[in-house]
């Protein structure tokens, strides 16, 4: 029944899901860093930074991911020649997809972290400032560590959404799971079976993510 699966080797089924994992992990780390910086900007006392953070989040999160990903390829790469140091089409697509995924997901990470910052009582920041910590020290040492622990749950949602959003990279030719699925559906008769295989593959990736982060969020919760 599953014979057809072994007929594919560019990419193989495992290879395609491995690409999905790579996209997810690298974009996940990238958007965590960029999203944190954006959140820092949104709470900073400098109006210009606050304005930039707010504008970025409100513009980027309201553009469909497909538009962003296709823009990275057709706009950034083809029009502006931004190929991110890659000559090979596959590598270029991979890097541009990560750029697009980070740019998009960071907006959601930023909002999750900002809601976490709002759960930290004002007194924590006052006490930090009162012992002479600067704004950035207060943010790094006191506010963000507590904010992160409060939003592990929401961040897990963002990560799960990101895992599934990596399928949009197929639109610019990145050979990940959805790309392979599209190829299979064109050539094989067992459409329902193919759908089930890929759905199962994604559940295998995201279910443990959700469970692990749910457990971590309970374990690391700050007691007040």
């Amino acid at each position: 029944m599953f014979d057809f699966l072994s007929d594919y080797n560019n990419p193989t089924l495992l290879g395609a899901f491995w690409m999905t994992v790579k996209l997810t992990v690298i974009s996940g780390l990238g958007s965590l860093i960029w999203g944190t910086l954006l959140a820092a900007m949104r709470v900073s006392p400098v109006p210009l930074m606050r304005g930039f953070g707010t504008a970025y989040v409100n513009i980027v999160r309201n553009i469909p991911l497909t538009v962003i990903i296709i823009f990275t390829s057709l706009g950034l790469a083809d029009v502006f020649g931004v190929t991110m140091g890659a000559s090979d089409f596959q590598v270029r697509g991979f890097r541009l997809a990560i750029l697009g995924l980070v740019a998009y997901t960071a907006a959601f990470v930023c909002e999750a972290i900002r809601s976490g910052i709002n759960t930290v009582p004002l007194g924590q920041a006052e006490a930090a400032r009162a012992i002479g910590l600067t704004f950035s020290q207060t943010l790094r040492l006191i506010i963000l560590p507590q904010a992160f622990r409060a939003v592990i749950g929401p961040l897990a949602n963002v990560l799960i959404a990101l895992t599934k959003n990596t399928t949009v990279a197929a639109a610019i030719g990145v050979a990940e799971a959805a790309y392979l699925m599209k190829g299979m559906i064109e050539k094989e008769a067992q459409v329902l079976l193919i759908g089930a295989v890929f759905a199962f593959g994604f559940v295998v990736l995201t279910l443990p993510t959700g469970l692990l982060l749910g457990w971590l969020s309970k374990r690391l919760a700050v007691k007040r």
Partner: protein, 258 residues
């Protein structure tokens, strides 16, 4: 008590440690601080009392600029309060602050709470910071709680840790913003005892409190505030036994006869 402050004044170039000059502050339409003039000498313990909403907490918080002021001037040890940035952070390190709600860093252990400022602000090395933190925790009587998290401690213990955290910075002056108001009655004394010891050791202290017993026994001067103004200043004995203003008489009659 007076001898202590006199001796300290002799050592310092100037006896005036905290000076407020015609300080004004509004919260919207509410004029919460009205032309406040107040000078605190080195080694002096000043207790600020008054009814709720009289501006005493705001006054206390304005001294290390947790509240900005609309007009007037505040100087600490001869230097005017900087507006923002590194200079302000540096000045705040010299001003210890103890809050009503303790505000210990909830994600750090008691020991880490007392070490953090030494390491990150004073740039002390870790070993020295830990030694000092442990000795301060012993001094306030919570040395055996060093590795616990704040939420595992009683209110009184948390507040004593907060005092240790402020002392770890070697502050020139300590501000107490209603330090016992959030405590269960049986825990108030353990905190007041630590504060009295500090006062005896010659620390300059500005204490906003409702603890009249502490004001009587530890204060060099009582400042009575009402409706955003300083209504009366006097030594404790004189203030409690013979208040001059009607506002103070009224306030004392409401709280003292029970």
């Amino acid at each position: 008590m007076t001898e202590v402050s006199v001796a300290k004044e002799d050592m310092a170039a100037t006896g005036e440690l905290v000076v407020l000059k015609s300080v004004n502050k509004h919260f919207g339409a509410l004029h919460v601080l009205q032309d406040i003039d107040l000078t605190i000498a080195r080694g002096e313990v000043v207790v600020v009392i008054g009814p709720s909403g009289s501006g005493k907490s705001t006054l206390c918080r304005a001294i290390n600029r947790l509240e900005t002021i609309d007009s007037g001037a505040i100087a600490i040890d001869g230097k005017p309060l900087p507006a923002e940035g590194k200079a302000l952070a540096k000045l705040r390190a010299d001003v210890g602050m103890v809050f009503q709600s303790f505000n210990l860093f909830a994600h750090k252990t008691v020991l880490e709470n007392v070490m953090l400022g030494q390491i990150k602000v004073r740039k002390a090395d870790k070993k020295k910071a830990e030694e000092k933190a442990r000795s301060l925790l012993d001094r306030v009587g919570v040395g055996n709680q060093a590795d616990k998290y704040p939420a595992q401690l009683s209110g009184g213990q948390q507040q004593r840790v907060a005092i240790a955290r402020a002392l770890a910075m070697d502050p020139k002056v300590m501000l107490f913003d209603e330090p016992t108001s959030a405590l269960d009655p049986e825990m108030i004394n353990e905190v007041l005892e630590v504060m009295q010891q500090l006062a005896r050791d010659g620390m300059t202290m500005i204490v906003v409190t409702h603890e009249m017993g502490f004001a009587r026994s530890a204060a060099n001067r009582v400042v009575f505030m009402a409706d955003g103004k300083i209504v009366e200043e006097a030594v404790p004995d004189q203030f409690f036994s013979n208040p001059r203003s009607d506002r103070a008489k009224d306030f004392l009659s409401k709280i003292l006869h029970h």
